[in-house]
């Protein structure tokens, strides 16, 4: 997917947030020397293409009391993995859901689903719900709890080597 220079500038100007002023798109436009209408229509086009996933608030999980998270991993039959992955991803407590390659013999799991809850008991309860949904198509599973954040940086469009 390619982005033109104006799209990139609009992304760079809004990726840390929209101004909290009555006409935020006009303010972004003014900072870039563009018209408000162009910023709005470009963001709408980016949303239609899926580059903008949503516009709104990002709640702080921890502040909302969702302090436990577990990376649940599942060894799911390949023939069923796409159908079941879609069903798991649609659950409202799963924040990320992917199929990834296995790394045998140490890692037999191909379906990854990040589960959030108020505590580990709640994460385990939700994990049991996923297990029930997967049924016999799942051969084994584990949950990996994070014990420490070692590094966390925001993903940014402007990085080393970016135009």
């Amino acid at each position: 997917m390619t982005l033109c220079a104006r799209d990139r500038r609009i992304i760079e100007a809004t990726q840390s947030g929209l101004p909290l002023t009555p006409a935020p798109y006009a303010e972004v436009a003014a900072s870039l020397g563009l018209e408000e209408g162009e910023v709005i229509s470009r963001l709408a086009a980016l949303q239609a293409r899926g580059v903008v996933r949503r516009i709104g608030v990002a709640p702080n999980h921890y502040a909302m009391g969702m302090v436990a998270n577990g990376m649940t991993v599942w060894d799911v039959e390949d023939a069923e993995s796409s159908r079941l992955g879609a069903a798991v991803g649609a659950l409202d407590f799963v924040s990320h859901c992917y199929l990834r390659p296995r790394a045998q013999p140490v890692w037999p799991y191909n379906l990854f689903a990040m589960v959030h809850g108020a505590d580990r008991d709640e994460v385990e309860e939700k994990r049991a719900g996923i297990a029930a949904l997967l049924g016999d198509a799942c051969r084994s599973s584990e949950v990996l709890y994070s014990t420490r954040i070692l590094k966390k940086t925001g993903l940014r469009l402007t990085r080393k080597g970016a135009p």
């Binding site: 997917m1 982005l3 992304i11 809004t14 840390s16 947030g17 909290l20 935020p24 798109y25 006009a26 709005i40 963001l43 980016l46 949303q47 899926g50 580059v51 903008v52 996933r53 949503r54 516009i55 709104g56 608030v57 990002a58 709640p59 702080n60 999980h61 921890y62 502040a63 909302m64 969702m66 990376m71 879609a86 991803g89 659950l91 409202d92 799963v94 990320h96 859901c97 992917y98 990834r100 390659p101 790394a103 140490v106 890692w107 990854f112 959030h116 990996l144 709890y145 994070s146 420490r148 954040i149 070692l150 590094k151 966390k152 940086t153 993903l155 469009l157 990085r159 080393k160 080597g161």
Partner: protein, 154 residues
């Protein structure tokens, strides 16, 4: 290390629950969103500023699909001997391609995400980390990503 959770009232919760997506693309979007919530434009803006400054929300605005913007990403894992863990973490984190890194309770105890401009740079970064640490880096690139129904209920 973590701040105590901010106190939220019913209006704060209503804003957080209603505005996780669908913020209008229009000249006066706060006024439009506020009307749907039965609030004034000014009070919605003031509440959002308070929620952001108090840490209840981490950001307000558009969320971009990082891969659609042209970047490459790969989840990686390592089995790091306990005695070397902190030294290896420092070596791994020193690579600017490492976007985040978590210790997890498992034989594979270090999980990090590489973020680069191109797919070739992912492989180069993983190889460089293996050379630096003398440990294998397991690569778990995504093969398929599923639509996410995740919503935080405030």
């Amino acid at each position: 290390m973590r701040k105590p959770p901010p106190k939220l009232d019913a209006v704060d919760r209503q804003i957080i629950n209603a505005l996780q997506e669908g913020f209008p693309l229009s000249p006066r979007p706060y006024a439009e969103a506020a009307a749907r919530l039965g609030l004034s434009e000014n009070s919605l803006i003031a509440r959002l500023a308070m929620l952001r400054d108090g840490g209840a929300i981490t950001r307000f605005g558009p969320f971009f699909d990082a891969a659609a913007m042209g970047g490459a990403f790969c989840l990686c894992a390592m089995a790091v001997p306990a005695a070397q863990f902190d030294a290896v973490a420092a070596k791994v984190n020193a690579h600017s391609e490492v976007a985040h890194n978590y210790e997890r309770a498992h034989q594979l105890n270090m999980w990090f995400v590489l973020a680069t401009e191109t797919a070739e740079e992912i492989e180069a970064a993983a190889c460089a980390i293996e050379a630096d640490t003398g440990l294998s880096v397991l690569r778990f690139p995504k093969e398929e990503e599923f639509f996410i129904g995740f919503r935080v209920v405030a």
